[in-house]
């Protein structure tokens, strides 16, 4: 059972470089989310998607873009990386109809921007 898979797990970028994080889930979940985790700040929602072809901004969307071309994949892009984007990024998914259902998380992608 793969669940939620994130790639890559680690990446080092220079300021101004671009990259894409890939999230793939095999549970047929409608909802997918990208969070960032920073020390002492918990998890903050970057972008989310409620279905294939739809995306929306979370609480900290600046500097990031996302796409959901296929139901199972949710991509997070950084067009011009900044040191403030050094963080651990988590993708999560959940079922559509369970309003109070739990989130399933990937193992995280650790990004360092120099």
């Amino acid at each position: 059972n793969a669940g939620v898979t994130q790639t890559p797990k680690f990446r080092v970028l220079k300021t101004g470089q671009s990259m894409t994080l890939l999230c793939a889930q095999d549970m047929n979940h409608e909802y997918m989310y990208w969070y960032r985790q920073d020390p002492g700040m918990g998890l903050r929602l970057i972008h989310y998607s409620v279905g294939e072809g739809t995306t929306a901004k979370g609480e900290v969307p600046d500097g990031y873009n996302v796409s959901r071309l296929k139901k199972q994949n949710f991509l997070l892009g950084l067009e011009s990386a900044a040191p403030s984007q050094t963080s651990v990024y988590f993708c999560a998914s959940r079922e559509r109809d369970r309003v109070t259902g739990e989130l399933f998380f990937g193992e995280g992608s650790r990004l360092t921007v120099l």
């Binding site: 918990g42 989310y48 739990e102 399933f104 995280g108």
Partner: protein
Amino acid sequence: AQSVAQPEDQVNVAEGNPLTVKCTYSVSGNPYLFWYVQYPNRGLQFLLKYITGDNLVKGSYGFEAEFNKSQTSFHLKKPSALVSDSALYFCAVRDQILTGGGNKLTFGTGTQLKVEL
């Protein structure tokens, strides 16, 4: 907006002793509360949730949480701690309904639990 607070950055417990990880919440309306655990270099895993009903909620790995409406608290507990329980624990509350459906979870800042022999 809804919020949760975890007042302790770290909790140290001896193996075999009971443990408590504290969480208080601030919500308008009925609270939907969650606990997640994060082991080193892993994603968060769901432990338990309170939606309605009994104030004592049982979850995975022998954990339970007590919902206290008058004190606006949702403390995580375990009668006998194990070294393997050492991890980062997050309290979360269901926040606003997002555009298009679904809901946003607002997480606390996390509490590092360390269980020692």
